[in-house]
């Protein structure tokens, strides 16, 4: 582990990291998925998690969002330990947005209501204010004309953009993206990735689990390769993709290249 710490970029040494994970363990029954994850993400940093399916990328993100209780370790967001006992889970989650592979929009609500529900009900914003802010956000992401549509009338790409807007409406400190393009038709991937590129330019701190290596190389400040429940290797995308040190990383990237994904 100590060798990996040296690979961290300078930015993570900044005063207070946006996200700090140490010694995170997580099992589902007999199956241990995470075996001591250490990860620090600086403010405005974009970190991509790569690794084969089932390596624990999604589980890690779900743990950070407190959707899964953890077995051991600590998670700090903006210096506040969110895994401490007695912490107000609902309050913590408002600071951490997550977007899922399968969109998970609320099918019985209009786009606008999907976006305003949490600001209105969880954060207690007046309905008019929540709607005005939501309308601004939808406009920014080219969805203004869809505000009164229901999710099943939208394309997959539009649904996923609404899901991103829904997470952004809570003005999170940290945005987690869990393979958000994996359920999309290939021609719809770009419109979603462009949204993320724009967010990265805007300085949003993001942790992104992805299979889109080209995108990871393009948008990430740092790439982490998850294998066997630990972060086996991490580094700047240029180094990771062209000179991976670990044999497992090389094998993984070779398979990705063979599949034409890089």
């Amino acid at each position: 582990m100590s060798g990996l710490a040296a690979a961290r970029p300078e930015s993570s040494a900044a005063a207070r990291p946006a996200l700090e994970i140490s010694g995170l363990w997580k099992s589902f029954g007999q199956l241990t998925v995470l075996r001591g994850i250490d990860l620090t993400v600086a403010e405005h940093e974009v970190v991509c998690l790569i690794g084969s399916s089932g390596c624990g990328k999604s589980t890690l993100l779900r743990c950070v969002n407190l959707l899964e209780p953890i077995d051991a370790g600590r998670i700090l967001v903006e210096g506040v330990e969110i895994t401490a006992p007695g912490v107000d889970v609902n309050r913590m989650r408002r600071r951490i947005g997550i977007v899922f592979q399968s969109f998970n929009l609320f099918p019985h609500m209009s786009v606008l209501r999907n976006v305003t529900l949490a600001p209105n009900k969880a954060a207690g914003k007046p309905k008019a204010q929540a709607e005005a802010e939501a309308t601004d956000l939808l406009e920014r992401f080219g969805l203004a004309d869809k505000r009164n549509e229901y999710p099943d009338r939208l394309s997959g790409g539009q649904q996923q953009r609404v899901a991103i807007v829904r997470a952004l409406a809570m003005a999170p400190d940290l945005l987690l993206l869990d393979e958000i393009t994996s359920a999309l038709d290939p021609e719809l991937v770009a419109e979603v990735l462009n949204v993320i590129r724009e967010l990265a330019r805007g300085g949003m701190t993001m942790v992104i689990a992805t299979h889109e290596m080209g995108f990871a190389r393009d948008v990430a400040n740092r790439v982490c390769f998850l294998d066997g429940g630990v972060i086996l290797e991490q580094g700047a995308p240029a180094d990771m993709f062209s000179h991976p040190r670990e044999a497992r990383t090389q094998q993984f990237l070779e398979r990705i290249i063979a599949a034409g994904r890089l």
Partner: protein, 294 residues
């Protein structure tokens, strides 16, 4: 046919037109549809004509006709029986409201996770098992005669009150299972999405899970409502003078069963439209499902 929602070719054609945006090519006059309607009509007429013919020519027909389809008794009992049905309407309307509330509470309590809440789940499970196991008539008897029989001061003695309570208790057990099936049919990722945004467990249930769950179980809820309407006649056993009790009184006075036929017709008039509505809702949901699964 279309209004009743039998899901004929015209129905599905309509929804394809709406969603697909194809030019309207619906034929004004469909030969094969007309022919199948005619065949259905003829076979229905022939079948019922045959049944009627057999009944009317049976050796005991004139006696049965006198006992069940007596015009004079009919005229006398309709003014008695039909107003008595208002008591049933009051019963099932009050009980249905209470059932929908109590059953929802039971279903929600039974769906709550966590080891601490095990006693809550245990109690609600026992409740549902108990009231589904014991015949409703016995519950009506036990409450209607037993509790007033205790003679505690201030306890109601009105049998109507116990009728409402008994029907509510029995039907809440069934209806809570319908709700629970609906709650479980909403994918866990919906709750996860709601919780991830910072909504509390109650808010996730209130705004995300229950609206979807209840929408899905409206047809089975209506089905149980029809069952409740018919079961209101059971409370005649504890002395509520409702439609069936009134028919018994008329029967005793005239030595004739025609008042029961009147009761049967009253129920048919009330429940058949509800049954059609339920079928229509089911058909509509299936079309929506098929449309969204394309």
């Amino acid at each position: 046919m279309r209004g009743l929602g039998f899901g004929g070719p015209l129905d599905s054609g309509d929804s394809i037109l709406r969603s697909g945006g194809r030019p309207p090519v619906r034929p004004r006059f469909d030969q094969s549809a007309l022919r199948s309607t005619l065949v259905a009509l003829i076979s229905t007429v022939v079948f019922f004509a045959f049944v009627g013919f057999v009944a009317v020519n049976a050796p005991g027909w004139s006696a049965v006709q006198q006992s069940f389809f007596n015009g004079r008794v009919w005229q006398e009992s309709v003014p008695d029986v039909v107003p008595a049905f208002l008591t049933n309407v009051q019963l099932f309307c009050i009980a249905e409201v209470l059932i929908l509330i109590l059953a929802l509470a039971i279903a929600v309590l039974r769906s709550l996770p966590g080891a601490v809440l095990f006693p809550v789940r245990l109690i609600t499970t026992i409740y549902v098992d108990f009231f589904r196991a014991v015949p409703g008539v016995l519950i009506i008897y036990i409450l209607g005669f037993g509790i007033p029989g205790l003679g505690i001061a201030g306890v109601p003695t009105d049998p109507f009150f116990y009728a409402v309570v008994a029907l509510t208790l029995v039907y809440s057990a069934y209806v809570s299972e319908v709700y629970r099936a609906g709650i479980q049919s909403v994918h866990p990722s919906q709750e996860a999405a709601a919780r991830s945004l910072g909504l509390s467990q109650f808010q996730a249930l209130r705004y995300v899970v229950l609206p979807q769950a209840i929408r899905r179980v409206i047809p089975p809820l209506l089905n149980d409502f029809i069952g409740l309407q018919k079961d209101t006649v059971l409370v005649s056993y504890i002395g509520v003078v409702e439609v069936f009790r009134q028919a018994q009184i008329d029967e005793a006075a005239s030595f004739n069963f025609t008042p029961y036929v009147v009761v049967a017709l009253v129920f048919l008039v009330i429940t058949i439209p509800l049954a059609r509505l339920t079928d229509w809702l089911v058909a509509r949901d299936r079309r929506r499902f098929l449309a969204s699964a394309r």
